[in-house]
């Protein structure tokens, strides 16, 4: 029992379930998010195409595992024009 967070630290099954939830939940459908188990909870990192998707991931995971502390390090991928070209002689 981890009193600080009100529950046991997340185990491998929680990690697996979240990983599948991110891919299989139609509201998320993300396969590029990594779930890292740490002593004090889970860290989600990766990149998505919009801020809305990042928020949705956190909302769905928190809804399914309300007692698991989640830290998010998910970025939104930049979509600017390239400034350099790759020459392939």
């Amino acid at each position: 029992m981890n009193e600080e967070h009100g529950g046991a630290p997340p185990d491998e099954y929680v990690e697996a379930e979240i990983h599948r939830l991110l891919a299989e939940d139609p509201d998320v459908a993300e396969q590029g998010i990594t779930v890292l188990r740490r002593e004090r909870g889970l860290v989600l990192y990766g990149e998505v195409e919009s801020p809305h998707r990042r928020e949705e991931i956190l909302r769905r995971v928190a809804e399914r595992f309300p007692d698991v502390p989640i830290t998010s390090d998910i970025g939104v991928i930049r979509a600017q024009a390239p400034t350099q070209v790759e020459e392939l002689p």
């Binding site: 139609p26 990149e47 998707r53 600017q80 024009a81 790759e86 392939l88």
Partner: protein, 241 residues
Amino acid sequence: MIRIAAVGDVHVDEDVVGRFRPALEELPDCADVLLLAGDLTRHGTESEARCVAQEFGNLGVPVITVLGNHDHQCDQVPQVVKVLGDAGITVLEGTGMVLECAGGRLGVAGVKGFGGGFAGRCASDFGEPEMKAFVRTTNESSEALGKALRGLECDLLVALTHYSPVPDTLAGEPLEIYPFLGCYQLGQAIDSAPTALALHGHAHHGTERGTTPGGVRVRNVAHPVIKQAYSIFHLGDHLVG
């Protein structure tokens, strides 16, 4: 010289429309063609395909794509292909086409491809029906790519896939999932023709550069890897133009 712009895994839905467009408007000045390496949508619905058409249609350069695994999720592939086709976006699947560019004739052959793994660590056409069906999908897809590549008459040949033809560009992904990210048979197909460049997506945590065993340059152009709207490659210095 031929100028190729490419990106994959853009996963467009309503919330993404407009994000790529400012960069895409610059394409006519810097590229002869835009190649999309699959996973255009999140779930492969007709409505998402309309968002893709809005974002990537009418660009002033030809747009050629393959589909990805996400584009198959809702079993609406025919509708997705039609919406894209109506917007002037050509979808390749075991097929190819030749574009007349200022710098020469560019041949592009494409296929979604499939998983299976890489030499010495791959799935075999053996055992349960499900396993055999998996590997036969890999084989058939790769054979279709090889045939399409070898059938094109052009000055510069490019292979376009969603799944990776080599492990090099998967570096950064967990080793355990390599068999779900690509297969060596796609590399073998690419090496069976005088391919100048192979482009793929799918591996969001992978890396940009690799080569096939035959020495063909491979680039992972998944959007999370390149971190820009598209990459541009200049090829065919030997060509006039």
